[in-house]
């Protein structure tokens, strides 16, 4: 932008106003471009959030919609009634706290396993030849071309009592009783790791790909055995990718609903499922909204961490 300045040698005589006009137009254009995501976020995130917050402060009512109004006006008196009872109940009934803690536990364990699985994959992709890299990366992204639900159903076909895995193991004579895999915690972890693996691989790949070979050689030259080199140089330098990948997996995994509902058992207690039950079984919209709001706050902290990490990464670059 700075190159188009009124004092530029070309901008003489009658050209000057037109350049200024162009500059003005560019500024307007930039404002327009920036306003689109702002508008999007306002329309589809901020306003729904405010609606949910409002509902969480209401009371259940047998009505359409099934909650009381916060604000009423009888012609003379304005009443604002904020019901904090839903939030109090969240802390009184251990079900909710257990669900929150269990969700975090499940998300944390699956994030860790995803990291362990994804790291060598990302490393291999980053180290392979450019031609192969494209193929391997598209293989990572390929599952996104099929519906997520379809892929989870496919896993059901694999894991169920007379599913593909059990049939195979039985016919090979490795087991004589079919294994119970579906509707276990194992299936939930498997589903989450499978689904979120690309979200871990891609940020890891992008940092590992930038890793300078001469740094690895320098480490070797200075006396690092291969494993030391990994812990002392590769891991610290790929830390931004590790943080980004972990948060990209952890945050959605905490609120995951579909995977525990389809692959988990009825006692797999996760907050996404509690939320669903409140909404659709109990028809307690205010309670469900309170659960959602509190989950959001549980997740705001990791999001802040992510933003911080990204800021530091940009600073370092």
């Amino acid at each position: 932008m700075n190159t188009i300045s009124p004092s530029a040698p070309l901008a003489t005589g009658r050209w000057r106003p037109s350049l200024q006009w162009l500059q003005g137009r560019l500024q307007v254009g930039r404002g327009l471009v920036a306003s689109v995501p702002t508008l999007w976020l306002g329309l589809f995130f901020l306003i729904p959030f405010a609606v949910v917050l409002k509902i969480s402060l209401a009371e259940t009512a047998i009505a359409v919609p099934p909650y009381s109004a916060l604000f009423d006006w009888d012609g003379a008196v304005a009443n604002l009634s904020l019901n904090l009872g839903n939030y109090r109940f969240l802390f009184e009934d251990s079900l909710y706290l257990d669900a929150y803690l269990n969700s975090i536990k499940v998300a944390a364990i699956s994030t860790l396993i995803t990291l362990i699985v994804a790291y060598p994959m990302a490393f291999m992709i980053a180290r392979s030849s450019p031609g192969r890299r494209v193929v391997l990366l598209s293989l990572v992204i390929l599952p996104f071309w099929t519906s997520f639900l379809l892929r989870v159903y496919a896993w059901m076909g694999f894991l169920k009592k007379n599913g593909i895995i059990n049939d195979l193991l039985l016919s090979l004579g490795i087991i004589d009783q079919p294994l119970t895999m579906l509707q276990t915690d194992f299936a939930v972890y498997l589903g989450i790791i499978y689904t979120y693996l690309p979200f871990m691989i891609l940020p890891l790949y992008s940092t590992l790909e930038k890793l300078d070979d001469s740094l690895l050689e320098a480490a070797e030259d200075l006396g690092c055995r291969p494993l030391q080199r990994f812990w002392l140089v590769i891991v610290p330098l790929s830390l931004p990718g590790i943080v980004a990948g972990c948060l990209l997996v952890f945050i959605p995994a905490v609120g995951e609903f579909v995977i525990p509902a389809l692959l988990g058992s009825s006692d797999t207690l996760m907050i996404g499922r509690v939320l669903w039950d409140e909404f659709f079984l109990n028809r307690d919209w205010p309670m469900a909204s309170a659960v959602a709001i509190l989950m959001l706050f549980f997740l705001v902290v990791p999001i802040m961490l992510l933003r911080n990490a990204q800021g530091r990464k940009e600073e370092a670059a």
Partner: protein, 389 residues
């Protein structure tokens, strides 16, 4: 005395020999021995059967263009590449099968390769810590080393907070702290600007002389090689074409490649018409002249040879000089005034261009040679070298 020596030894021009230099003595063992080392990448031969001896405390330069194989040879010494054949000995030990992290060799990388996540002091301490040196000693040695490279006050900074020259010195400190038997430097001054490069050259030589570590430098910059090294190995197409002291290479090149790569040179193609033990006469059709060169060569009669004259050895004058061994006539085609000296491009009648440099001794302008002046170029018989290949 001189005459009889030349009669016994009527081979190409010989450099005077410094008998004290280890590479001229028979009683010194080479410190680094490279024996018939080759490196192939598929069909491509990067290093072609090189044998080279380097002596203790030498500052040896590998000089060559890109793709000459000099970096590959360096990487084989560091242990990042394995030779396809041949072996490398350091201090009598065959290191060919020792992994890079165990070798008594350290390297200073062209990009410096400082760890961006560690401070300067931690970068320097990195190698010592891997060797399990006690904490106190690490701290002390790092402080000493940083002091030596004048970074004592910057130990806490991260590499990206340093200037180019500071980064270069940090990289040097990191490579030297383990007291390697051999230090490899890949284009050590390549990333610095001209002024800083000159300062750093002398600093590097000082450090090398104080520590007595054997240095092996890879560079494509012939000036850098000339000022830094005790000896230079000129590489081309994976082979070493000549090894010698900087003076040898410049004044007594053994072939056209070295003559042209090290400094600039005027080459006249011609045929030997008279070949005596202490002089030759060469007829050059392009210069339409017969050149007298007062050293003998060994070649077949009528063989194609090249007479090589350095630009600064040619006298340029308006008047025809008397009693000159060699004299040709031409027209000044271009003059470049460079302050300390002027560079002339002189056009011969046949169209060949000759490069002549002349120091600007006088401050006055009036005697200056100008564009389109007719001039005589002359040089003595001993300032010219005959090249047969």
């Amino acid at each position: 005395m001189q005459l009889s020596e030349q009669i016994q030894n009527p081979v190409p021009a010989q450099a005077p020999v410094d008998v004290k230099a280890p590479w001229h003595r028979s009683d010194t063992e080479p410190f680094v021995r490279i024996e018939n080392v080759s490196k192939h990448f598929g069909d491509f031969v990067a290093v072609d059967n090189i044998s080279l001896d380097i002596y203790q405390s030498e500052l040896f330069c590998l000089l060559g263009g890109s793709g000459s194989g000099k970096s590959t040879l360096l990487r084989m010494l560091a242990g990042f590449e394995t030779p396809t054949s041949g072996r490398i000995l350091i201090d009598g030990v065959d290191i060919s099968s020792i992994p890079a992290w165990k070798r008594p060799v350290n390297m200073m990388f062209q990009s410096y390769a400082l760890f961006p996540h560690l401070s300067v002091a931690d970068n320097v301490a990195f190698g010592l810590k891997r060797d399990g040196v006690p904490r106190g000693e690490v701290k002390q040695r790092v402080a000493e080393m940083l002091e030596m490279v004048q970074l004592g006050h910057l130990g806490r900074r991260k590499p990206h907070q340093l200037s180019g020259g500071q980064r270069q010195r940090a990289a040097l400190a990191r490579a030297l702290i383990k007291r390697p038997k051999l230090l490899l430097l890949d284009e050590p001054l390549g990333a610095l600007d001209k002024k800083l490069r000159e300062e750093t050259q002398f600093e590097l030589i000082n450090i090398q002389e104080n520590l007595g570590v054997t240095f092996m430098v890879v560079t494509h910059d012939q000036e850098e090689a000339m000022t830094l090294s005790t000896r230079i190995g000129v590489m081309n197409h994976g082979e070493i074409v000549q090894v010698g002291e900087p003076h040898d290479l410049y004044e007594y090149p053994q072939n056209r490649f070295v003559a042209e790569f090290v400094g600039s040179v005027n080459l006249f193609e011609g045929q030997v018409i008279e070949d005596e033990t202490d002089f030759v006469r060469i007829h050059s059709p392009e210069a339409e002249a017969v050149f007298f060169i007062n050293h003998g060569i060994s070649c077949a009669p009528g063989q194609k040879v090249w007479a090589a004259v350095r630009p600064e050895k040619i006298r340029i004058s308006r008047e025809q000089p008397q009693d000159a061994d060699n004299c040709i006539e031409g027209t000044i085609d271009e003059v470049a005034y460079m302050g300390s000296l002027s560079v002339f491009r002189v056009l011969l009648p046949c169209g060949k261009q000759i490069r002549v440099t002349k120091p600007n001794m006088a401050r006055r302008f009036d005697e200056r040679l100008n564009y389109r002046d007719r001039v005589f170029l002359s040089w003595t018989g001993d300032s010219c070298v005959v090249l047969t290949s």
